[in-house]
């Protein structure tokens, strides 16, 4: 990964003023990460942790308060959001939204929706070429051509999301930002969409930033994962490492909260006290997780922990507790008793 990363975010922060006061919401606070070309990076955290703000900063819908965003070596963070749509990078960074029913124009047919970015960003005006490109995009996401004339309300949830993905990939972006792309869908449809996304990545060599609160999904699709808590990245690393040996107590709590499809085996739950703290002018010298952390001690109240490398594979976590015991920290999986594994029925033709 010595080559220039496709996306390079450095010390990014975004503050929103609180109306009528001199105070500010620290939505994103000193966040740095990179995404290599062809990589899929997952971004997880609870609502309010700053995931969506990062998405809007990276897709350049919002201007950062501080820090820089480099895309393919070009400093795109300094281009005002209002002018970004006129740049070539607009077509190179595209997004798939959470709720396909809400994010599609109800008065556009599937064809119109997919054609829109082609007209506006790729400047395609010839009817025949537009037709070819729309059909190609629909084909890539497995949307039958006969559905192109339909309006969103005439499509199922899964078909709507295929339209949403086709719109995003029609202009062949290099970076695709997926904001909870399956959370509005049924599990059976979710599986289909995940396969579509994995397939597209392979065929088009696209790079993904995959935002989700569902860690099981992040694990299925991503190479690396970033865990956010109250505006800061608290853990980062290869998915399997983060899942099997989480370094931050928050990550451990998140992992232990996922319902696992192995009934009968109750796992020890890492319980969190209360709700996340306030993002309004948080103290710069207190760990953001202090107060909710099951293991917090007095140093956490005096000094903000910073991300530090804990493994050779780029695994990083921001926690003081790692000073004493990196290797010996208990993980949910090692605490789990050996349990019999349930057979997964595969279609059930047995």
């Amino acid at each position: 990964m010595s080559a220039t990363p496709l996306l390079d975010v450095r010390s990014l922060s975004k503050r929103f003023p609180v109306r009528g006061t001199p105070r500010a919401v620290h939505a994103v606070d000193d966040v740095s990460f990179t995404i290599a070309s062809g990589e899929c990076v997952g971004l997880v955290g609870e609502s309010g942790c700053g995931k969506s703000t990062i998405v809007r900063l990276v897709t350049r819908l919002l201007d950062p308060t501080g820090g820089r965003i480099f895309f393919a070596g070009e400093d795109v963070g300094s281009i005002p959001a209002a002018r970004f749509a006129a740049t070539a990078a607009r077509a190179a960074i595209q997004m798939v939204f959470q709720d396909p029913a809400d994010s599609l124009n109800p008065r556009f047919t599937a064809f119109d929706t997919i054609a829109e970015p082609l007209k506006r960003l790729a400047r395609i005006t010839a009817r025949a070429e537009l037709d070819t490109r729309v059909r190609a995009a629909a084909d890539l996401v497995g949307l039958p051509a006969e559905l192109l004339r339909r309006f969103p309300h005439q499509l199922s949830g899964g078909q709507q999301q295929r339209v949403g993905i086709a719109r995003a990939i029609a202009v062949r972006p290099r970076l695709l930002v997926l904001d909870e792309p399956t959370s509005a869908l049924d599990v059976s449809v979710q599986a289909v969409i995940l396969h579509v996304l994995a397939d597209l990545r392979q065929r088009l060599g696209m790079t993904y930033l995959f935002v989700s609160h569902d860690l099981n999904l992040v694990r299925l699709l991503s190479d690396r994962v970033l865990v956010m808590y109250l505006g800061r990245i608290v853990e980062a690393g290869p998915v399997d490492t983060v899942f099997d040996r989480p370094g931050h107590p928050y990550t451990r709590a998140l992992i232990s909260a996922i319902p696992a499809l192995d009934p009968g085996a109750r796992r020890p739950r890492v319980r969190l006290a209360g709700e996340p703290g306030s993002p309004i002018d948080p103290s710069p010298t207190v760990c953001r997780f202090f107060g909710r952390c099951p293991d917090g001690h007095d140093r956490c109240e005096r000094e903000m922990p910073v991300l530090r490398t804990t493994g050779g594979d780029g695994h990083q976590a921001a926690c003081h507790l790692l000073d004493s015991a990196i290797a010996s920290s208990p993980t949910p999986s090692s605490q789990r008793p050996e349990r019999e594994s349930l057979p997964v029925p595969r279609g059930g033709t047995s």
Partner: protein, 326 residues
Amino acid sequence: MTVPAAAVPLLSVEDLSVEFQTRDGVVRALEDVAFTVARGETVGLVGESGSGKSVSALAILGILHPAARITSGRAVFGGLDLIAASETQREEYRGRELSMIFQNPRTALNPIRTVGRQIEDVLVRHANLGRARVRARALELLAQVQIADPARAWGAYPFELSGGMCQRVMIALAVACSPALLIADEPTTGLDVTTQAAILELIEDLARRSQMATVLITHDLALVGERCDRIVVMHAGHVVETAPTLELFRAPRHPYTARLIASTPRAGARLADLAPIPGGVPDLRGVLPPCRYRLRCERAAPACDEPPLPRQQIARGHLVACRFPS
């Protein structure tokens, strides 16, 4: 937590059929739905959207949309058939013996009334407590659903609280009169995983303490697998399989159940392990085959077109609606 099968169930739903009158014809949303809930038991009702999970719950409570018509069936709760009962009789039960919480707590709460007042309204209506006593009881309930500062929450409007807090308030409303049955319709969809775990633990805890039975409606099989004693699987308005949780996961007999399990991500699974269910929930208008899963089914045979849909008991407490159960 299993209750002897011989015991009279708390709720017994039999042959429940519901139709919706729409401009495009009659939607046969439920057909001969049957399941039971024992006292203190937690039952999961799962299936894709459009499978009839919520319609079943609304029919039992008697709060279906005016376009809906119950064409057959009974829902016997504590000796009373809620379907045949008068609205006055049902009102005696609703909120007191039988409560429901909904998917989106913020829209289910009254936006212009403080949450404390909303809890008091329930208490005044159903618990015969004087205005003086209700305040103390409302604060007690807020503390019971583990809201850190009950006095502050009492005076808050729903928009001032987080989604998780609103759901706790909904639960406080629902359990205010210690109901015998709580129906929770997707209570944690839209909430974070950590909040989801906390809310479900809270419901479980309240249920255990007061022997409250719970029907947990969700599309998330992993969630019911972790929380329920028994699972009822629905597809297109039919109950296709009912079994104790472990048995259902270990040996699903209906092809749809097997598909549903295979499409749910498991911890540590790879994408290749995740198998989608072919096709979609069928259009419930017009003429439907006896088995509504027929068009999506890999076991389908000409015999499947012969009515009636067989519903057989395969083992004790394990029912399956399929001609070719595995």
